[in-house]
Symmetry: C3
Subunit: 153 residues, 3 copies
């Protein structure tokens, strides 16, 4: 039995990663009532970190692809928070996107769009969220880190 959201992901050719384990003494998500707070998810692919600095070693398209990977990890965490049933996800509430970039780089929104576009593609209206996108220095040299707030049933 596959849920509607999982079916939509399959249609998109997307296979969610395993929910990444946190790198330290904290948890990947906390559920408080119907709100799920998900820890910052860094850009990863096939178990390796996607590193790079926008405005230097990485361009906007590559950055957006990295942000999309963060969104996939966020969804994987939400699925774990829903005991595997992603159809309990009611909506994406808020993302904060941190982009590893030079001081001169100004296209943080275009980078974080990689995450936003994916969530709307996968979830439709329920994927539309409030958002901030800023530049920061990131752990392990990853290109993007995104944290999120989600509403579940």
């Amino acid at each position: 039995m596959t849920g509607k959201i999982e079916a939509r992901l399959a249609e998109l050719g997307v296979s969610l990663p395993d929910a990444p384990a946190p790198a330290a003494n904290y948890v990947p998500f906390v559920v408080m009532g119907s709100t799920v707070y998900v820890s910052g998810q860094v850009s990863m692919e096939n178990g390796g970190f996607v590193t790079g600095r926008l405005g230097d070693t990485m361009d906007v398209a590559e950055g957006a692809a990295a942000a999309r990977l963060c969104a996939m990890s966020l969804l994987a965490q939400v699925r774990a928070a829903c005991d595997g049933d992603l159809d309990r996800l009611k909506r994406v509430v808020k993302l904060t996107g941190f982009v590893n970039c030079t001081p001169e780089f100004t296209d943080q929104p275009k980078v974080v769009n990689g995450a936003s576009d994916f969530l709307v593609e996968a979830l439709g209206e329920a994927g539309r969220h409030a958002r901030s996108a800023v530049g920061a220095t990131l752990p392990l040299g990853v290109a993007v880190e995104i944290e999120g707030i989600f509403e579940i049933a």
Copy 2:
């Protein structure tokens, strides 16, 4: 019929901007129960971005003025979230202020005060909020970006 908060804003000579549209595939705010999450609002005036870097091309007073503009946009979004009736705003809960600055700049709080002071001026006690203020690299070279959490009736 003008609400009490709108009357107070008029008294201050403040006319809220139209709620700015987001620059990408996300929404300006999400309402979850009585909580409104407002997307990061960048410093804008008369439809143009207010750009600059604190510690370099912009001083603290100019930065505080930019932060005030962000707070005006936040209120404009909350008004939209309240279907135009700003008197439904119960309180400002939390702001996160991101200041575009050099690595040496240390007066982020004085900059974000431009937003905090405005909200207390406009809303009284209901305008007093929890807050963080940090330096970051910002979209489009804007001077300040502020996101907010608000409680509404």
Copy 3:
């Protein structure tokens, strides 16, 4: 009469600081239902700021010690939010840790661990939280600033 959490802190040899007053026109915390939003707490010790830049003037162990100080201030604020009774704290929900660092520094998680480890030491399972850790430019040159969301009874 001392609560269980205060007793545990005493066992750890920890005496919480007075809840630091905010540096501007905002409040140290806002309670909304059972959620407490605590303003960003900067690294302080004995009333003075703990300053430094990771990757330059401060190493990871010193940074983690600074993060631990932030967590102590966060708990002090939560105690104030609970009218002095820290046993009303149900759990730490979410931390956002900002680390003052060079663009090359990549160990933000190890620094913020100073806060996470302390909270788990002091509170056990209730201290485990969702988290983000990023590099930023910080007020007054402090080494670390951490904001938090807490659930109280």
